[in-house]
């Protein structure tokens, strides 16, 4: 089997690729503004808007070139200081995804909530705040529909609890709130001692996140508090403190509890990772400023946290390889990029190929480029999130750190091995090519599957799978941590986690089955399998074993799978139909099969399986 030049289909198991291309005489409209900087670049990019948007007076949508250019223009306002007067001028003309946040508080929150709109809009979001009355006791009597519950607490008002009492009290109150709602809960309580924060985190209340405000407070020093303004704001926190909290809430903390994370950052080269143009200045002539060092180091940290890096550049591949070989002062190495697209062709097309290589959707990619015209052109055809790379790269870092979905509350072991796991796909492809049969392939890989029943310690990872998996996701239920925890509470075997390892890598927890029992049936409410576990022909064995584990000794008569058609889960639905031996209607909401049929399915004997309670 030979590798061809055409991009592989999604989840095909194709390996890490590096593509170059010959110089093309047709460089596309973005070539017009290559090398331009500052205001000139934005004016030139307006020409591109007029070519892409035939109705210039219509409000641009999130994926329009106007959105990309507005994001670039807003960066300085939002992330260099942040001034309320200037924030008020940042009015979005695009649609926003609304999130409803219910706020339980004992001090003024409005100085924070009123500062969030511009930051949220930059990320395509809008928050609808339902703010309760002042309540030191946190009785949680605030009613109203919400997507997220937020607790905003000035612990300084609660000294009567005495030393060491705050942490325990907070655990008790948040547990009470958890019993009332399955929403993610964000707790912003200040000041909290390290012991109290540790006590809260040790309680491990599912789907609950405590923000440590101490770093923000320390960064502002004596500007953190302003009792002078408490008369009008209702809080001791200063205007500057509230702005800082608003920025983090809107860009990082709230999106991280409610939305799927971003999976990759695609970066340009010239003017982005260094100052200069490789084709003109040569490898030794491009300038690695201290700001660009900071940017490369930050990208490296994103990579360590499990966010994939990709390189996308209009250059000669040989020049790029020379660059990374010669410039040992670059913190990033070429091998740090899980996919490399270097050519003179259209960047949108290159980005699609990157997404295929990385087995992710383009909507989970962040594109960083110094050319606003390129950003606009790509954003006009793909739902990527864009960041304008600045000449002072510390500004680029500031913007990048506020792209929603890049901040994560927890980094799992799966996150940390993602890059290496993807690289192992390359070797698996080689093994596949040399294998005589599917069993021979699996035997060579020494595949091991572990099935964990009611695994509380993996709740966060299971919720992440439900949130992130778009392709092999049958019901698209997007269950969160608290909802999965409730399933486990009802009956541990309602939730089965699947872990996968072979001799090339340990992929960690890559699948989850969530269901419940009725008298005669097993109801599967959610089945998600991570893309990086696919392509090893294990799906049938995974599902069969997981269902047997879930059923236990009380064998049901039938299994009912909940289904929901999404934009990208067609192949998973087709696979299930094949597994069940039925034809699936497009609009089918369930699929039933006799449990006897499942018990009759063979699990490859070369796969080692373990079941852990």
């Amino acid at each position: 089997m030979s590798r061809d030049a055409t991009p592989p289909p999604p989840c095909s198991g194709r390996p890490f690729t590096r593509r170059g291309g010959r110089r093309s005489p047709e460089r596309g409209p973005c070539r017009l503004i290559r090398g331009e900087r500052g205001a000139d670049a934005f004016r030139a990019a307006d020409l591109i808007i007029s070519r892409f948007d035939a109705r210039p007076h219509q409000n641009p949508s999130v994926n329009s070139p106007g959105f990309a250019l507005n994001r670039a223009e807003w960066q300085d306002v939002l992330f260099k200081g942040g001034n309320r007067a200037d924030l008020a001028a940042c009015v979005p003309t695009w649609e926003l995804r609304r999130l409803r946040v219910r706020v339980h508080r004992n001090h003024g929150f409005e100085a924070v909530s009123t500062a969030t709109p511009a930051y949220a809009a930059w990320n395509g979001l809008g928050f609808d705040w339902l703010i309760g009355g002042y309540d030191d006791s946190l009785s949680f009597d605030l009613r109203g529909e919400a997507d997220i519950d937020l607790v905003w607490l000035d612990v300084g008002r609660m000294q009567r609890l005495g030393e060491g009492g705050i942490g325990s009290w907070l655990v008790a109150r948040i547990s009470a709130l958890r019993s009332q709602t399955a929403n993610p809960i964000l707790a912003l309580a200040w000041p909290l001692s390290e012991e109290d924060l540790e006590r809260f985190n040790r309680a491990a209340i599912p789907g609950t996140y405590a923000v440590d405000l101490a770093p923000l407070a320390d960064s502002l020093g004596n500007r953190w508090l302003d009792t002078r303004a408490e008369a009008i704001s209702g809080t001791r926190l200063s205007n500057r403190a509230c702005l800082s909290v608003a920025r983090k809430l809107a860009c990082c903390w709230l999106p991280a509890v409610a939305l799927a994370p971003r999976k990759a950052i695609a970066v340009d080269l010239d003017g982005t990772l260094y100052r200069g143009v490789l084709g003109e200045d040569g490898p030794s002539g491009v300038d690695l400023t201290s700001g660009h060092v900071a940017l490369q180091l930050r990208l490296a940290r994103f990579r360590e946290a499990g966010i994939l890096l990709a390189l996308i550049s209009r250059n000669e591949l040989a020049d790029v390889e020379d660059l990374f070989r010669q410039r040992e002062d670059f913190p990033l190495r070429l091998t740090d990029f899980s996919a490399v697209e270097v050519s003179w062709n259209d960047k949108a097309h290159a980005l699609r190929r990157l997404a295929d290589t990385l087995r992710i959707g383009t909507d989970s990619i962040v594109l960083v480029d110094d050319n606003p015209g390129e950003l606009a052109a790509v954003a006009s055809s793909l739902p990527v999130v864009t960041v304008h790379a600045r000449s002072d790269a510390t500004d680029t870092v500031a913007a990048l750190e506020h792209v929603s979905g890049l901040f994560r509350w927890r980094n799992s072991a799966e996150d940390r091995v993602r890059t290496e796991d993807l690289r192992a796909s390359d070797e698996r492809y080689t093994v596949l090519e040399s294998s005589a049969s599917p069993d021979d392939y699996l035997r060579s890989l020494q595949v091991r599957l572990d099935f964990l029943v009611g695994p509380r310690r993996y709740l966060a990872r299971l919720a992440e799978l439900c949130a992130k998996t778009n392709q092999f996701n049958l019901a698209l239920g997007r269950m969160n941590e608290a909802e999965i925890a409730r399933k486990v509470d009802d009956r541990p075997s309602n939730v089965v986690a699947i872990r996968l390892a072979d001799r090339l890598s340990d992929s960690g927890t890559i699948g989850v089955l969530v269901g419940h029992r009725s008298e005669n049936a097993l109801h599967v409410e959610e089945l998600c399998i991570s893309c990086r576990a696919l392509g090893r022909r294990l799906e049938d064995s995974m599902l069969t074993k997981a269902l047997l584990v879930m059923a236990g000794e009380a064998v049901p008569q039938r299994v009912v799978f909940a289904l929901r058609k999404g934009p990208r889960n067609g192949p998973a639905r087709e696979w299930l139909a094949q597994y069940a031996g039925v034809t699936l209607d497009d609009g089918a909401a369930t699929l039933e099969m006799a449990f006897d049929a499942i018990m009759g399915k063979a699990i490859s004997p070369v796969i080692r399986t373990e079941v852990a309670q």
Partner: protein, 111 residues
């Protein structure tokens, strides 16, 4: 929707308005500076109150329903951010019209 009740510690003085300070007759330079300051303040008020595009008459808090305690807080903070000043707590209630705000800012900036 957030409640627009007055925050903790607020007293009734915040809801009222003080007598507006009249600009002093004087040199053209002072008059121009005052006019420029009032124009800037007017623009900021319109932006925060969502009154952009409307006729730019002098804005007075008691006449504007949208100028509640919440908006007042935003206005004070925006003014402090924009001009790098810090008003005394006693001044907050007096910042209730375009011209009184402009006068207060000029006093702080001249200090």
């Amino acid at each position: 929707m957030s409640a627009t009740r007055l925050p903790r510690g607020t007293n009734s003085a915040l809801a009222g308005s003080s007598a507006a300070a009249k600009p002093q007759a004087g040199e053209d330079h002072t008059s121009d500076a005052t006019s420029q300051m009032e124009t800037e303040v007017q623009d900021l008020l319109q932006r925060i109150l969502g009154l952009q595009g409307l006729p730019s008459a002098r804005l007075i808090r008691v006449d504007i329903e949208a100028w509640d305690s919440l908006k007042h807080m935003e206005i004070v903070f925006a003014l402090e951010d924009r001009y790098g000043v810090q008003f005394d707590e006693a001044e907050f209630p007096t910042l209730d019209a375009t011209d009184t705000i402009a006068s207060a800012l000029q006093r702080h900036l001249a200090a």
